[in-house]
Symmetry: D2
Subunit: 147 residues, 4 copies
């Protein structure tokens, strides 16, 4: 079952052309939690003076990790889409370093999944950015008792 | 003056390697308002079954337009960076169509600029997504009267 | 029909004990748009040094106006609840003045309503705060064609 | 030093008339982290059919806890104000139970403090709501090396 969920989130990420173009790949996947990686690439730079990766590229990574975490939730079935997403940018990622994003789908209602994600460069003690969002979800076993 | 601001936001966008890689370009720029375009490209697709562009690519476009709108504000001086950004995704963009994002820097305090942006495909009556965020700002003429 | 929707949003607000306790009342209601008022009250003050109303009280007003706007949408049926809400605080409300919040439900999907709201004191040219959020919705006529 | 910070956040909360009116009180305070409580009160009810407390009241509690957490941060000096705040509502609070909000100021830049908060009823394993926001901050020892 967990193996299936793990495969499902890997296939979800692998099938997205924009992720392939950016080099986004699955680092780890578990029950309702997914870690993705984004290699440093000069084409992703947002500030040519410093070589810092564009916040938007970090945003794509976190959004994808969040969607994959919904796919990896045991109560989810089928596809998901972002409803809304907030990202807080705490600091610049260090140039030259890979970015990883860890996302967790922490709550699921009948129609909405709640997800948070953290992005790090090689210093995993200080997040580069934090994301909080809601995603559409189709429950595997629809619950009639929750709104 | 407005010409200078207009040039400043154009240079801001043109200097970002990630924008160049995506094909993001300035469509229009005015006092505290900037419109950017993103051509349809199969490398930006988020859903291979439909050819719909990834929400993350739309997010990059809106984030960049918002930053450029801060640069185009008469009270701003120097660089800006995203503090936080919320994006609401109302509908999928129509495959094959160019996306545009219109951003407006609607309020500036001593240290923070408030920006909203709307993204559209060729149907400009129904936004694809809406963004609201805050950005760092350096005031051109620091005001001692506002907190 | 519009009369019914108008009444529905008025009843929605009138039935909330917390709104009654704060003095929140309907100023105007239309198709998918609702304006609520909040009288100045020393019990709502957030900063005793200035007499400025607490941002949280403005937040309650905007959240309620947003929910009422969902109730006033012709495609909505039955109750609604806030899924998530972002509020940007641009400036302090002027002490002694009534606050009004104008909310509009600008998009509805099968399960989610998107709402924005603006809060003003007596100077309606400069918003005090802006809210953007998503709410649960039950469609009056479920659409099978929209995700 | 920590005692001073603790007192500072207690005074911050005690001095807010709106908090006194709601019965909001300090449960615990530590370095950059504050827990506040909100007793159940029929005047705070948002849904008369169920007796559930209004989401807006929970929002006021989390916003205040977040501001107090900024005040309790060793690098902060003087007052703070909410710049923006996002709240995700995962479930209804159980009627009759006290709500607590735990806030942590997890990052501070020269002008902006980043805060998250969690709200619980008596079941602390499942949050009622989560908040993420940015607040103004005046650094006690301004750093010239951070943007």
């Amino acid at each position: 079952m967990l193996m299936d969920l793990s495969n499902r989130s890997k296939e979800f990420v692998a099938a997205i052309p924009h992720c392939a173009a950016l080099g986004i790949h699955v680092v780890d996947t578990a029950n309702a939690a997914v870690t993705l990686g984004l290699p440093y690439d000069v084409r992703l730079v947002g500030d040519p003076a410093t070589g810092v990766i564009a916040g938007g590229a970090v945003s794509v990574l976190m959004d994808t990790a969040a969607g994959a975490a919904v796919m990896a939730h045991p109560d989810a079935h089928g596809l998901t889409a972002t409803i809304d997403l907030r990202i807080d940018y705490m600091r610049s990622a260090t140039p030259g370093q890979r970015i990883i994003a860890r996302a967790e789908c922490h709550h699921v209602t009948t129609h909405v999944a709640f997800v948070r994600a953290f992005a790090y460069d090689e210093d995993e003690t200080r997040p580069v950015a934090i994301a909080n969002g809601t995603f559409t979800v189709i429950r595997a076993q629809p619950s009639g008792t929750e709104a």
